[in-house]
């Protein structure tokens, strides 16, 4: 958290900026007119029901989908703000391999299921030029420990892992290159409640220790409350309400946000 605080005060410039971002498929508009800024160390949650445009927005922000309108700018490691549409394919791949992480809801999409856990983590390091086997293996082991996976399982393939372990391995694979921004799409979806709590606690600690910026798509308001500083509520492809997470959840203004908040079943 100390690093996190330093990151907030030292770099008073946004890491990512979305301007009038939108995507339509013919007559269907999946997402329209989204503008916001994300600062280093900030965690932003995007909440809303299925079909509200959350995942489309995440794909636009992470340059996996080309926008129909507007643009996404990202501050590269050299400090220059670049329009993601203007950078070349090689640079975009470099971003994905080093500066960004992407945690999929289904770990099978983010992992290589047939190779060992150690190789899954090590692969990202090799992609950025690491070539010393011993160092790669040591780093992979220490990351498995950090995400609470028994190092004795390093040579097993993730298809032999439980759902919660796979998700933790996917997180280790993403964080090993010290990215500055991590995208997460329903990171706790499909997991048992007890497994979810452990994963959330782990993510929360990692994000604050590493001073990461993150954009987390979730339909679960409890996840948003626990992980994020700010929240954007989406409905019908638009952002209908945005602000400090506890403010939006404790004092929701828009009818749809009030409905979302009041629909949570008390435990």
């Amino acid at each position: 958290m100390a690093r996190h605080d330093a990151a907030l005060s030292a770099s008073d410039q946004p890491l990512l900026r979305a301007e009038g971002l939108g995507k339509s498929y013919g007559r269907l508009t999946a997402c329209r007119d989204v503008s916001f800024e994300l600062y280093p160390g900030e965690v932003l949650a995007i909440v809303g029901e299925s079909g509200s445009g959350k995942t489309t927005l995440l794909q636009l922000l992470s340059a996996q989908l080309a926008p129909s309108t507007g643009k996404v700018c990202y501050r590269m490691r050299d400090g220059v703000m670049r329009d993601l549409a203007s950078i070349g394919e090689a640079e975009r791949r470099f971003l994905f391999r080093t500066d960004w992480g992407y945690v999929h809801q289904d770990p099978a999409q983010g992992l290589r299921m047939a190779v060992s856990a150690g190789a899954n983590v090590g692969e990202r390091l090799m992609a950025v030029g690491w070539n010393h086997y011993g160092r790669i293996r040591d780093t992979a082991s220490s990351w498995l420990e950090r995400v609470e996976i028994d190092v004795g399982r390093i040579d097993d393939a993730p298809r032999t892992y439980s759902g919660g372990m796979r998700q933790r391995l996917q997180i280790a694979r993403n964080l090993v290159t010290a990215p500055r921004l991590v995208f997460m799409d329903e990171p706790t979806g499909g997991l048992d409640v007890s497994v979810q709590a452990r994963l959330l606690d782990l993510m929360r600690n990692l994000v604050s220790e590493l001073g990461l910026a993150a954009i987390v798509v979730t339909h679960d308001l409890a996840v948003a409350r626990l992980l994020s500083h700010r929240v954007m509520v989406m409905k019908g492809g638009r952002v209908i309400e945005a602000g400090l997470t506890d403010q939006v959840l404790d004092d929701p203004c828009e009818p749809y946000t009030q409905l979302l908040v009041s629909s949570i079943l008390p435990a």
Binding site: M1, A2, H4, D5, L8, S9, Y39, E42, A197, R198, L200, D201, R204, S208, L226, H229, R230, G243, L244, D246, Q247, D250, D251, C253, E254, P255, Q258, L259, S262
Partner: protein, 232 residues
């Protein structure tokens, strides 16, 4: 000396869209200030808007009008219009809040729940834990419980953990929402003592307390919230 908190003409109305858009005016014309080393107690019956005012000062409830001036890192910042990242910065280094109920992360040990605000401000983990332990001991939480998450504790124990978490930091403003509500006499006395220490350290406090005796012991000034009742 300049005030730590300076509120003028602040107002809050809830609009309940799920109940046909009913307007619930909570408070209006809220104006008062708090100096360093002073404890202002908000008085008034239940439902008068005391907790809402506290939440507005913490930036947890939005403010529909007026100004909530907070002295933050040597400058005054208006929380009614501040950006989310400014509010987060104010919460990290200026305003602490002891809510009525503890909202803790599952799985985190009590000692760390209490130490967390210090660590967030750059104190080393070992020192933060040591101070956490000292405070928990003062508040009579037995050491054998420190390694457990507070969700397993009784109501009174949880509240004392919450108080420890609120009092551990050296923040210049502290908001207290019924800090003694479910405590026994011995622990109430500890809280009164802690509040006294904060005053001597120059901390500005706003508190809600229903117990007349406690109020008498801690209040330097009383602000009657009924005068801010919003006209329906």
């Amino acid at each position: 000396m300049s005030a730590m908190i300076e509120i003028s003409q602040a107002e809050k109305t809830f609009i309940m869209h799920l109940q046909g858009g009913i307007r619930l005016p909570v408070v209006s014309g809220v104006s008062f200030h708090v100096d360093p080393g002073e404890c202002v107690v908000l008085a008034g019956p239940s439902g008068a808007g005391k907790s809402s005012i506290l939440k507005m000062i913490f930036g947890n409830y939005r403010c529909d009008g007026g100004r909530i001036g907070i002295r933050h890192q040597g400058e005054q910042i208006d929380l009614a219009t501040a950006e989310p990242r400014q509010i987060l910065s104010v919460r990290r280094s200026t305003i602490g809040y002891v809510s009525q109920f503890l909202r803790a992360v599952p799985r985190v040990a009590t000692l760390d729940v209490v130490a967390e605000p210090l660590i967030a401000n750059g104190t080393g983990r070992a020192e933060a834990r040591e101070r956490s332990g000292r405070l928990l001991r003062r508040l009579n939480i037995p050491q054998r419980l420190w390694g457990l998450p507070p969700s397993t504790f009784s109501g009174g124990e949880q509240q004392r953990v919450n108080i420890a978490r609120g009092f551990i930091s050296d923040l210049p403003i502290l908001l207290l929402d019924e800090p003694t509500a479910s405590l026994d006499a011995a622990n109430r006395a500890v809280v009164v003592e802690l509040i006294g220490e904060k005053k001597r350290a120059g901390v500005a406090m706003v508190a809600i307390v229903h117990d007349d005796e406690i109020r008498h012991q801690i209040a330097d000034r009383i602000v009657d919230v009924t005068s801010f009742a919003a006209a329906a």
